[in-house]
C-alpha cells in the first residue's frame, strides 16, 4: 500500500487561511510526491472537495468564512460511505478543542509547526486505512451482488423445480397443508396425487442437509412419485423405486426421511409407511386417536434387497383425519430456546374439540409457542381427511387425443404364476399396453379400475379364497391382511392369465379382456348381484361393490367355465 505508484496518485486537499503555512505544507507534500490542491477557508475547501474529489483532507481548525469544524462536517457528509481521512492541522492543544475536532468528523491531528517526517508517516498511515476501507467496501458490494445473483438463480431453480415437483392435488378439499414457500432449499418435500382408479397417494419427505443438494435429491423423488402414481403403481412400488434411486444418487451421508400414505376412500382403507419422520396421528374423534410411529429406516440407505416397503394397513372411517409432519414441527423453539417437541403436538391434538380442525389447532399452537407469524423454512405439516367416495371429484379424462393413431387391431396374453403373484403387481404394465391406444388413454382411470377389479378379485378371492366380509369388521380387517400375506407366501401351482383383444369399431373401438385364474371358481348362476337388477351388498365371491363397478364401466360381463374366467367388453368412442 506504500507503493510509490499508488502514493503518487494520491490527491490531497490542504485548507489553511495562513498563506505562508499553506504554501509550506503544499510544497512539502508535493516534494513527497502527492498531488495537492489548496483552499484559504472552509467554504472553498468544501467546494474544492466536490470538484477535485481528493483522497485525503488536511484542515486548519480556525479559519474565516467557515471554520474547519463546519467544513469537516460538510465534507464527511458529502463523502458518504467513502472513507476520506480528514486530518486537522492545528496549533490547538487543549483536550476539549481537540475532542471537538474529532466530534466534527476529524480522524486525527497534525500539530504545527510541521515536521516532514511526521507528515509523511501520518499520511501513509491514513492512506493504509483508506485503502483497507475501500477493499472492505468493494468486497461487501461484491458479496451483495453475488448474493443477489444467487437469489435470482434460486428463484429460477425454484420455478424449474415447481414444474417437476408440483403440488399435485394438495389443493383438494380433503387436504390441508403448510409448506414453506422456499422449503425446497430447506430439504422438505410434500406431494399428493390422485390414483387412476380412485383414492390418493401423499408423500412427505425431509432430506438431510439443505440448500442445493437437498433440492437436487428431491427432483427425482418428485418425478418418480408423480410418474408412477399416474401409471397405477402403488405406494410400496413407488417407495422401492425412490429408495433405489436415492441409494444410487445420494452421497453415503445423505438420506431422506419420509412418509407415504395411500388412501382408498371407496374401501375406507389407509396404508402408511413411515421411515424416520415423527409419529403420524390418526384422529378419529376427540377420544379416539392413534399414533403411527416410524417403523423403517429412512429412504436412500438400504440396498434394494434389504429395503422393506411393506405398508401398514389401517381400516378407516369417513371423517378420519391423518396428521403428518416433518421434524421442523417438533423443532420449533420459543423465545427461551425450548422445543415444541412431541409434547407440543400431543397437547394440540388433545385440545382439538368441537368443530375445530386439527390442522388449524396445531398451526395456531405452534404460532403461539414460537410467537411468530412466519416459521422456519423446514416445517411441513399436512392433514388428509378420509371422505365419502361420492365427495371425491372424479378424475378428468386425461390428455388430448394423440396425433399418433396407435394400434387398433391387436391382441395379447399375459400370465403370471406362483411366487410372481406375491412379488409383482402386473397392473401398471397391463395399463401401459392398453394406453398405447389413444382412445383408451383418455379413459385411463376407467381402464385401470376395470383391470384392478379383475386382478384383485382373481387373486384375493379366486386364488387366495379370502372372504371380503372380513374387511367390514375391525377384527376381520386385520385378519384379512394377515391371511392375505400368509396365503400369498404359500401360493403353489396357481396362475392369473389376462387375454386382451382390441378391435376397431365404426366410431371408436372395443377392448375385450378375459381374466382367468387357477382358483376353484364360484357358482355364478346363483350369484345375487348377477341375477338381480338391484345390486346386492355382498356376494360369496365377488364383493357386490366390485361387480357393480364392473357392470357400470363395461358394456358386458360374462362368466365362463366354473366361474374362474370372466370376460368384459369395454367400448370407447371418438
Amino acid at each position: 500500500m506504500d507503493d510509490p505508484a499508488e502514493t503518487a496518485r494520491l490527491k490531497i486537499l490542504v485548507a489553511d487561511d495562513s498563506d505562508s503555512d499553506r504554501l509550506i505544507l503544499k510544497s512539502l507534500l508535493k516534494r513527497l510526491g502527492y498531488s495537492v490542491v489548496g483552499a484559504a477557508n472552509g467554504r472553498d475547501a468544501v467546494a474544492l472537495f466536490q470538484s477535485e474529489v481528493p483522497d485525503i483532507v488536511l484542515l486548519d481548525a480556525l479559519m474565516p468564512t467557515m471554520d474547519g469544524m463546519e467544513a469537516a462536517r460538510q465534507i464527511k457528509s458529502l463523502a458518504g460511505e467513502r472513507l476520506v481521512p480528514l486530518i486537522f492541522v492545528t496549533s490547538l492543544t487543549e483536550p476539549e478543542d481537540l475532542a471537538g475536532c474529532l466530534e466534527a468528523g476529524g480522524d486525527g491531528f497534525l500539530s504545527k509547526p510541521y515536521n516532514p517526517v511526521m507528515i509523511k508517516a501520518k499520511i501513509q498511515a491514513f492512506n493504509r486505512m483508506r485503502l483497507m476501507h475501500q477493499a472492505l467496501s468493494d468486497q461487501r458490494d461484491l458479496m451483495h451482488e453475488r448474493n443477489r445473483q444467487l437469489q435470482e438463480e434460486q428463484h429460477i431453480a425454484r420455478r424449474v423445480f415447481d414444474n417437476v415437483a408440483h403440488t399435485g392435488c394438495l389443493g383438494a378439499p380433503n387436504i390441508r397443508y403448510h409448506a414453506s414457500p422456499l422449503s425446497i432449499f430447506s430439504g422438505d418435500v410434500l406431494f399428493a396425487s390422485p390414483r387412476p382408479a380412485g383414492g390418493m397417494l401423499v408423500f412427505a419427505g425431509d432430506f438431510t442437509g439443505h440448500g442445493l443438494p437437498a433440492a437436487v435429491g428431491a427432483m427425482p423423488v418428485a418425478e418418480s412419485f408423480y410418474g408412477m402414481v399416474a401409471k397405477g403403481f402403488d405406494g410400496s412400488d413407488i417407495l422401492r423405486e425412490i429408495n433405489q434411486k436415492l441409494v444410487r444418487i445420494l452421497p453415503k451421508d445423505m438420506f431422506c426421511c419420509g412418509i407415504m400414505v395411500e388412501a382408498d376412500f371407496a374401501q375406507n382403507q389407509l396404508k402408511i409407511w413411515n421411515g424416520g419422520l415423527p409419529d403420524t396421528w390418526l384422529l378419529r374423534s376427540p377420544t379416539e386417536q392413534y399414533t403411527l410411529p416410524s417403523r423403517h429406516l429412512p429412504l436412500g440407505i438400504l440396498s434394494a434387497d434389504q429395503f422393506n416397503a411393506d405398508m401398514q394397513s389401517i381400516r378407516s372411517q369417513p371423517g378420519d383425519r391423518l396428521l403428518l409432519m416433518t421434524d421442523g414441527v417438533l423443532e420449533c423453539t420459543d423465545s427461551k430456546g425450548q422445543l415444541f417437541g412431541e409434547q407440543g403436538v400431543l397437547h394440540a391434538v388433545e385440545s382439538v374439540g368441537g368443530d375445530a380442525h386439527p390442522f388449524d389447532v396445531l398451526m395456531s399452537e405452534i404460532q403461539q409457542f414460537t410467537g411468530q407469524q412466519q416459521f422456519g423454512d423446514d416445517l411441513t405439516l399436512c392433514c388428509l381427511e378420509m371422505v365419502d367416495e361420492a365427495g371425491q371429484a372424479a378424475l378428468p379424462d386425461a390428455g388430448e387425443l394423440s396425433a399418433l393413431a396407435g394400434p387398433t387391431q391387436w391382441q395379447c396374453v399375459y400370465e403370471i404364476r406362483d411366487s410372481t403373484l406375491a412379488e409383482f403387481n402386473p397392473l401398471p404394465l397391463l395399463l401401459h399396453i392398453c394406453m398405447e391406444v389413444p382412445g383408451l388413454r383418455r379413459k385411463s382411470g376407467e381402464i385401470y379400475t376395470l383391470l384392478s377389479e379383475l386382478y384383485n378379485n382373481a387373486l384375493e378371492h379366486g386364488i387366495l379364497r379370502l372372504t371380503s366380509e372380513w374387511k367390514y369388521t375391525p377384527e376381520g380387517f386385520d385378519r384379512y391382511y394377515s391371511e392375505r400375506a400368509t396365503r400369498l407366501s404359500e401360493v403353489d401351482g396357481h396362475y392369473i392369465k389376462f387375454s386382451f383383444h382390441h378391435e376397431r369399431m365404426p366410431s371408436g373401438g372395443c377392448l375385450r379382456v378375459v381374466c382367468e385364474d387357477s382358483g376353484r371358481g364360484f357358482d355364478f348362476q346363483n350369484h345375487p348381484v348377477l341375477q338381480a337388477t338391484e345390486m346386492a351388498q355382498s356376494g360369496p365371491r365377488y364383493g357386490g361393490r366390485g361387480l357393480a363397478l364392473l357392470k357400470r364401466l363395461a358394456k358386458s360381463i360374462h362368466f365362463h367355465n366354473k366361474g374362474n374366467q370372466i370376460e368384459v367388453a369395454y367400448e370407447w368412442f371418438y
Binding site: K252, D253, F255, P293, S294, H296, Q306
Partner: protein, 101 residues
C-alpha cells in the same frame, strides 16, 4: 477436543468418544478419528455418554463410518446414549444398522 479416541481393553476395537453436540461442526474431527484409527481395527464403539445432542448430519456421519467399516459387514456399537439421543436413533430405526446399547 470434543472427540477423543482410544483402543478398547482387548485392543481390537476403536472407541470414539464424543462430547457435547454431535452435529455438522464435528464432521471433520469425527472423520479423522476413524480414518486414522489404524489398519488392524476389527470394530468400532461410538461412546455417546457425554454427547448432549445429535442431529441428522450426525446420523449421516454414522452412515459414513458404517461404510468405512465395511458396510453390511461393519461391526459398530453405539453406547451410552441419553434419552434424547436414543429417541432420535429410534425414530430413524438405526438399530437396524448399528448395535445400540
Amino acid at each position: 477436543m470434543p472427540i477423543q479416541t482410544h483402543r478398547s481393553q482387548d485392543g481390537r476395537s476403536l472407541v470414539i468418544k464424543i462430547e457435547g453436540r454431535f452435529d455438522f461442526s464435528t464432521h471433520q474431527a469425527f472423520r479423522d478419528a476413524y480414518e486414522h484409527g489404524g489398519k488392524d481395527i476389527k470394530g468400532y464403539i461410538v461412546d455417546l455418554s457425554d454427547a448432549t445432542y445429535l442431529d441428522s448430519s450426525a446420523l449421516g456421519m454414522l452412515l459414513l463410518l458404517r461404510d468405512h467399516a465395511g458396510g453390511d459387514n461393519a461391526n459398530i456399537a453405539i453406547e451410552n446414549c441419553n434419552n434424547d439421543v436414543r429417541k432420535i436413533l429410534t425414530i430413524s430405526n438405526f438399530e437396524q444398522l448399528f448395535t445400540i446399547r
